[in-house]
Structure formats: structure tokens, C-alpha cells
């Protein structure tokens, strides 16, 4: 009798303490939650909802509900498919070149290269520079008649390679892709370097003692062990490639002749040139779905193979 009443007292006290702990926990999280909901969660839901309505953005109220009409209109727009094709090409060219160069640099720097920290620091500089600075400087370098690139090509008698780097619809996307690769190699390199440093030294030493030559060690020992990190670098590069906007908006605005149009620049055009807000929202929704799928893949890589 006495024992059960004290047990009762204990559970009541426990529950009270639990309640208090829950309350304290929510109190700690509340301010962040409010701001996060106001600027990230609520707008995302708003966009999702807007993608089902027709709206010019000029009236206070949204227009009529159109179901999947905005998605249908977007899919029927040939420019949308151009933008998808451009973005896919952008990612398919950028990611392998970026991660490949980064891998070469990371392996070179990590295998006993004198002063590797300094080289890493310098190779990472493009990553911290603003895309506005990068875009405008490259625009100047690419300028057709007085830009340094073409002047240099002419000077070394490679004039036949000179191009209208940003003015020719067949070339512009390649030029923008090249700049994006230049900007991101350092980022992938640093991720791969971190992965290389986590490999055990013994394995590498053992491989060397066996008389394996460095190139073989790299190809048959280091790279297979690094595969999970290479996968992460690849997925991160794909995700940021799917979000590309700043660089293209600054350098070409999607032109010439839509040759560098990507979904992000198209949604900007839909929203602020053509005033079809529902369609712009539909592009956002499609883009977000693709990015979520790729991010989910990333999480599987990270959880399944590394951690």
C-alpha cells in the first residue's frame, strides 16, 4: 500500500518533470522555428499552392484554380525543354570535369607534396569569390575582339580557335560551363582532400612497401577506397548544378537565343517578364522535386557507405 502510493507519487513527479523538460525544450527551439517557418516553410507551401492557380501577380487575389494547368502549359513550352536540355548538358559536362580535376589535385597534394596547405589555400580562392565578380571578369576575358582570351589565341597562332565565347549560341553554354568548373574545382578538391586524410596511413605505406608504384597505388588502392567521398563530391556538384542561376543571369541572361536558358532563368522570365506566376511556381516545384530526389540519393551514399 505504502509502496504503491510512493510509486504513484514518483510517476506523477516524473510526468511533471517530463512536461517541464518538454516545455524547456520547445522554448529553446521556438525562436528559430518561428523565423524558419516564416521565411522558409511557409513560402515553400505558398509556392506549392500557387503552382495550381493562374495569377498575373498584379491583382491582390490569386486567379482561378487550374489544377495541373500550369504544369501542362510549362511542359508545352519548347523553351522549357530547351532549358532542361541546357541544364542537363551543363551538369553532365561540369560534374565529371570538376570532380576529375579535383581528384587529380587532391591526390597530388596529399601524397607528400611540399607546402600542400598553401597550394590548397590558393586553389580554393575561386570558391570564395562572388559570382558577380567572377561573371563580370570572365565576360571581359571572353570579349570577342579585345578580350584577353582571343588576343592570346591570336598571338600564339591559334587564332582559328578564337570564338564569340558568349555571343555564339553554339558556344555560350560551353563558356559558362567552363567558368562554373573553374569556380568549383577547389570546393570538390577540399572535400576529396578531407576524405584522403581519413584513409589510414598504414594501407598506403603497405602498398608502397609492396613495391607498387605510385600511379598504381593511386589507381588501385586510393581511388577505390575514396569511392564514397567521390560519390558525395559528385552528388553535391550535381545538386549545385541543378540550382545554377547567378552565373548565367550575370553572363548571358539565358541568351543568346535561349542557348544558356536553364529552369532558374526561365522561372525568372516567367515571373517577372511574362507575369505568369503559377507557371513560374510550377517550374520551382519541378526543380525542387528533382533536387530532393538527388539529395535523398546523397543521404543514402553518406549513411550507407561512410557512416
Amino acid at each position: 500500500m505504502a509502496a504503491s502510493s510512493s510509486a504513484l507519487v514518483r510517476t506523477v513527479a516524473d510526468r511533471k518533470r517530463n512536461l517541464r523538460r518538454n516545455f524547456t525544450g520547445y522554448l529553446f527551439v521556438l525562436p528559430a522555428l518561428v523565423v524558419y517557418c516564416a521565411f522558409v516553410v511557409y513560402p515553400t507551401i505558398y509556392t506549392l499552392a500557387l503552382s495550381f492557380f493562374r495569377w498575373t501577380g498584379m491583382t491582390p487575389q490569386w486567379g482561378p484554380f487550374v489544377g495541373l494547368g500550369n504544369f501542362a502549359a510549362t511542359i508545352a513550352d519548347p523553351v522549357f525543354w530547351t532549358s532542361i536540355r541546357n541544364n542537363v548538358q551543363f551538369v553532365l559536362v561540369r560534374t565529371p570535369v570538376e570532380v576529375g580535376c579535383a581528384l587529380v589535385l587532391a591526390v597530388l597534394l596529399s601524397t607528400a607534396m611540399r607546402g600542400w596547405r598553401l597550394w590548397r589555400t590558393l586553389l580554393f580562392v575561386p570558391v570564395v569569390l562572388s559570382l558577380v565578380a567572377v561573371g563580370l571578369v570572365f565576360e571581359r576575358l571572353f570579349e570577342a575582339s579585345t578580350g584577353v582570351l582571343n588576343v592570346f589565341l591570336n598571338a600564339v597562332r591559334l587564332g582559328f580557335l578564337a570564338q564569340q565565347w558568349l555571343g555564339d549560341p553554339d558556344v555560350a553554354l560551353w563558356s559558362v560551363t567552363a567558368v562554373s568548373i573553374w569556380k568549383n574545382i577547389g570546393f570538390s578538391m577540399v572535400i576529396l582532400l578531407a576524405g584522403l586524410q581519413s584513409l589510414s596511413k598504414e594501407v598506403l605505406e603497405a602498398a608502397k612497401v609492396d613495391g607498387a608504384r605510385e600511379v598504381q597505388v593511386t589507381l588501385y588502392v586510393i581511388i577505390p577506397m575514396l569511392r564514397p567521398v567521390i560519390a558525395i563530391a559528385t552528388v553535391l556538384s550535381v545538386i549545385s548544378g541543378l540550382k545554377v542561376f547567378d552565373l548565367i543571369f550575370i553572363m548571358t541572361q539565358g541568351g543568346p537565343l535561349y542557348s544558356t536558358e536553364v529552369p532558374m532563368t526561365l522561372l525568372y522570365r516567367y515571373a517577372f517578364t511574362f507575369n505568369v506566376m503559377g507557371q513560374a511556381a510550377a517550374v520551382v516545384v519541378l526543380q525542387a522535386i528533382v533536387i530532393m530526389i538527388v539529395s535523398w540519393l546523397q543521404l543514402r551514399f553518406v549513411r550507407g557507405e561512410v557512416g
Partner: protein
């Protein structure tokens, strides 16, 4: 005797040859690294060179500016009013970072240390923001800011920057709080300190490294942010540096590339200086979540 000497000589010769071969094998390696170094640094260096050129030197496609035209910087700062944009950028970036930290520090602590119902779920909910592209918020924020008459005010950027910094801030700070030893708070709790006092006086002062990583990463992000600033600020003098310089590039700076380059140099300097001082925090911040998570 002779034989041993000859042998020693041969060995020395082989050692030297080995050394030479090793050196020779280093050549392609250095070649590759130097090639990438030159490519990586050339555009930034070129930007600085152009910022000191006359337009004529520029159009002759010469690399080295002579005579040096420091006047470009004066023109960028004074006549293009870069000074005002500078202040806008500085103010908006800094206030946003501080606000993000103010809400993320307690949230990170709560999620790491207070065992309340549903905290795992909440943490994942916050992490969702790391993968959402900013485009998901672009239109709603634009229309709501417009409806509230907040376009072209600092709040139009401070709010979104603070909000979009939260996922990252909580991710880093929660992870850091988890690494701190439990004994500290146990001792304080035995002394009868409340949860809030434990957080403020015991735990918070220990988080300096994590706070540094978060502040530096978010400052860089805010300083360089483009699409929100482009959309929510349309008055020239209320712009931040990236969109301000971008829109000037088609107006005041049109055809006056050296002044534009000077503006870009002035814009990039704080980030470059911060980067060289806080390299490890920069690299950690930019790659966090990639390798850990």
C-alpha cells in the same frame, strides 16, 4: 680494396641517379599543380590589374597597367556611390548573421541536450532547409514583402537571410553542443542552476569555434547573395554590392571597365582578407554537411 671503392662509387652513383629520377618524377606533378594554380588565380589577378588601367590600356589588351590609374578607385567609390552600397551590404550581412546566431544557439542547445518529445523530428525538419533551393521562397517572399510595403528596406533581405541561415546554423551548433562533456552541465545542475543559466553561462561560452564557423560561412553567403537582393531591392542606392555593381555594369560602368573592376576589387577585398585569416573555418563551413552529416 679497389673493388669495394668501385662498389661504393657505383652505389653513390645509383643513389644520385635515384635522387634524380625522383626529382624528375616530381616534374609532371608540379607541372599539373602549377597549371591549375595559374588558371585559378589569373582571373582574380587580372581583375586587380584592370582596376589600375586606363581604358585605352584595356582595349589594347595589355596585361600590365601603366601608367597606374588609382583614380579608378576614387571614381568607383565616389561617383558610382559604391560607399553607400558597401554600408548596405555590411549592415545587412552582419545583422543577419547575428540574428541567425541568436535564434540558432538556443535551438542547437535544446536539440542537442534537452530530451524533449519530438526533437529528432524537429531536427530533421530544420535540416530540410539545407536541400531546398532558395527559388522555393522567391515568389512568396517577393509578393508578401510587396504587400507589406517592405520592399527596398533592409528587412527585405535581413529576414530571408536570417531564415535561410537557420538550417546551417542549427546543423553546426547542435553537432558542436553534442561534443561538449556532460559533466559540465551536471555540475551546474547540482549547484541548482536553471536550464537557461546552464545554457547561457556554462555552455554558450564554450561554443566559440562553432560560432566562428557559422558566422564566417553565413557572412560569406550573405555578402555574395544575388537572387533575393536582385528581386527585393530595386532602388539603386538601397542595393547591396553584388546587385548594385551588377546593375551599374550596364549603366555608369558601361564602357568604363577599369572603374567596374575597381568596384569589384573593393567588393572582394573583405572576403579575401577574411578568407586568408580564417581559412580553416571557411573550408570547414563550406564542406560541413558534405563529409559529416
Amino acid at each position: 680494396m679497389m673493388a669495394t671503392e668501385a662498389l661504393a662509387g657505383a652505389q653513390a652513383g645509383r643513389a644520385r641517379a635515384d635522387k634524380l629520377r625522383k626529382l624528375a618524377s616530381q616534374v609532371p606533378r608540379w607541372g599539373v599543380v602549377i597549371f591549375f594554380l595559374v588558371i585559378s588565380l589569373f582571373p582574380a589577378v587580372y581583375m586587380v590589374l584592370v582596376s589600375l588601367m586606363t581604358t585605352q590600356t584595356l582595349f589594347e589588351a595589355r596585361l600590365f597597367p601603366w601608367p597606374l590609374r588609382w583614380q579608378n578607385f576614387v571614381e568607383a567609390w565616389v561617383s558610382a556611390k559604391i560607399g553607400i552600397l558597401y554600408w548596405n551590404s555590411f549592415y545587412i550581412s552582419t545583422v543577419s548573421v547575428i540574428l541567425t546566431l541568436v535564434v540558432c544557439a538556443p535551438a542547437g542547445y535544446g536539440l542537442a541536450r534537452v530530451e524533449f518529445l519530438g526533437r529528432g523530428l524537429l531536427f530533421n525538419f530544420f535540416l530540410l532547409g539545407l536541400t531546398l533551393p532558395v527559388s522555393t521562397s522567391l515568389l512568396p517572399l517577393f509578393f508578401n514583402l510587396k504587400a507589406l510595403g517592405l520592399m527596398n528596406t533592409p528587412f527585405a533581405l535581413i529576414g530571408p537571410y536570417t531564415g535561410f541561415g537557420i538550417s546551417f546554423g542549427i546543423f553546426i551548433l547542435k553537432g558542436f553542443f553534442e561534443t561538449l562533456p556532460r559533466e559540465l552541465e551536471e555540475a551546474a545542475r547540482v549547484d541548482g542552476a536553471s536550464e537557461f543559466r546552464i545554457f547561457l553561462q556554462v555552455m554558450l561560452p564554450l561554443t566559440r569555434p562553432a560560432v566562428a564557423t557559422v558566422s564566417i560561412f553565413l557572412f560569406l553567403t550573405n555578402w555574395n547573395e544575388f537572387i533575393f537582393a536582385l528581386t527585393f531591392i530595386t532602388e539603386p542606392l538601397r542595393r547591396t554590392l553584388p546587385t548594385g555593381i551588377y546593375s551599374l555594369s550596364g549603366q555608369e560602368f558601361y564602357g568604363n571597365y577599369p572603374t567596374l573592376a575597381a568596384a569589384l576589387v573593393v567588393f572582394s577585398i573583405p572576403i579575401i582578407v577574411l578568407y586568408f585569416i580564417f581559412q580553416s573555418q571557411f573550408i570547414e563551413g563550406l564542406t560541413a554537411g558534405a563529409v559529416k552529416q
